[in-house]
Amino acid sequence: MRRSAIETASLLRSKKLSAVDAVRESLAAIEGGNGAINAVVESLGEPALARAKEIDARVARGDVEGLPLAGVPVVLKDNICLDRGHTTCASEMLRKFESPYSATAAQRLENAGAIVVGKANLDEFAMGGSTEHSCFGPTRNPWDVSRVPGGSSGGSAAAVAAGFVSLSLGSDTGGSIRQPASHCGVVGLKPTYGRVSRYGLVAYASSLDQIGPMATSVADAALALQVIAGQDEHDMTSSSHAVQTFVVDLERPVGGNDGGLVIGVPKQARGDGASGGVRGRIHKAVGESLEHAIRVYQKLGAEIVEIDLPMTDAGIAAYYIIATAEASSNLARFDGVRYGRRATLAPGEGLFELYAKSRGEGFGAEVKRRIMLGTHVLSSGYYDAYYATALRARRRIFEDFQKAFGKGCRAILMPNSPGPAFKIGEKTSDPLALYLEDVFTVGVNLAGLPAISVPTSFAVEDGKTLPIGMQLVGASFDEGVLLRVARMLERELDLGEKLIPMRG
């Protein structure tokens, strides 16, 4: 049995379930299942139960106003600060770090009644697409423990898929919510850049990072977005754009009176139109899943139009230039002085050695690689060739998406990832191969757009069933329509209990 966040909160408010029981259920699920998948890196049982008692007391005296997530257990990706427990970013650098404050998104979830029961594994500092680069060891896919859950929000995705919680928060810089959602059979939403405050999210690439929900249904993701969205005085890039009531309208299909539903499908993602680079990498089951989703939307009356995103392959290059450049700057704060790991110095060693040794010991291989890439593309003599060029490419990518929305598209449909979840260790020796997996997701971050991954079908690999999700991209701050379009697909496919992993 799987209960959605909305159902849990509703049962709580009608006193058919207590928050303490909801939290105990969740903690028991983590206790029983985490050994196999390593999705949760820190369980926060005691504070969660204390918080649950407070929620129950409020419900008992009828004080449920403003608690849409009353008693809903959640986990947070461990790069999202919480004022209890640790915030490690899955890095030796921060293994012992205790944040003195909570991220705005976490605070807003808690204010709405949600209860944080644990912190979720990730690729160190959110850099990766497999949750293999973690100081806590890899997270395993609940559908097949020999495979990755995707990443970097792999722990957040796996925790929802395994039924530890019905809702989690991840962060998405280049696909880190959508791709693991796709690989684990859950819904993952990356909001428009600026929609959700980044205050308290440990920065990887500040112009791309965005916090978003992962859930078992589009409705839960919509509710969670509604709770965490909105301007925040602590994040000057958070938008003043009004937060719609995403949940209320969710069941209303897009089309008809709205002027018809037009969905764009990039030719780069489909059949013979696929560009050389991308085409060879699309797994048969992913291609079929896309065609299936197209037929579903056609059946629902949508018009499918071909759009052109010619920068799809080049976007990977632009992304890895911009993201690593920003990372090299953001991660300069880890100096062994103010917080985080500090190396022991030999006699005669000075400040340079303190920085270099602390960082050398504290960062894993992938983080070091990205810091060095970023340092290289920003260094004297290379800045124009790489960084400045990538910023121009970013503008072109943004314009390509705008063209599609200008032609009347309400959403763009394409895969999240060229294939289903791959084997643990399969791509660790070839970083470029792992980066190329991001072909369908990074452009969306560069353009700042909202996008959602919805489970659509299954592949069978080595006798194991693996979920596949499709990505829908919306126009800036148009999450309301995006969620409704996603809900149309979810409702028609009605995968329900099929999305509970059959681990074996």
């Binding site: 003195p100 404050y101 850049y193 600026g194 112009s207 005085e233 000057m236 890039t237 938008s239 003043s240 080049a314 990977i316 290059a317 890895y320 230039i321 090299s328 300069a332 100096d335 062994g336 002085v337 103010r338 917080y339 500090r342 110095l345 060693e349 000075g350 400040l351 340079f352 050695e353 303190l354 270099a356 040794k357 960082r359 050398g360 010991e361 960062f363 291989a365 070091k368 690689r369 810091i371 060095m372 890439l373 340092t375 290289h376 593309v377 260094s379 060739a385 790489y386 060029t389 490419a393 970013r394 503008r395 072109r396 943004f398 314009e399 070839d430 970083p431 470029l432 353009a447 700042g448």
Partner: protein, 110 residues
Amino acid sequence: MPNPSSISQADVRKVAKLARLYISDAEVSQHQQALAAVIGYMDTLKSLDLSAEAAAGTVHAGAGGDGFGSHLAEDEVGPTLSNDALMKMAPLSMPPFVMVPKVLDDGGGA
């Protein structure tokens, strides 16, 4: 400009030093290969004609101008973390100070 795709071990060491990142000899060889492959891929951007495009540092909310873009904070002192909280985070401190190696005389510098 040198061909960036041919990253030498000296290049790796130089970048690591610029990034204040100690890496072992074994790491230098590992990173050399990976960096060369990734930078080689980045070079594909150079074949595109992007001269007509303005650089976009951010495309936040339609690249600003629509009223939803970034805004500036008031230039005034707001609440900050307490000295105690900061000291608690520092790996080595002698409250109210954090400790650093000697930086004058022979104390450091690169």
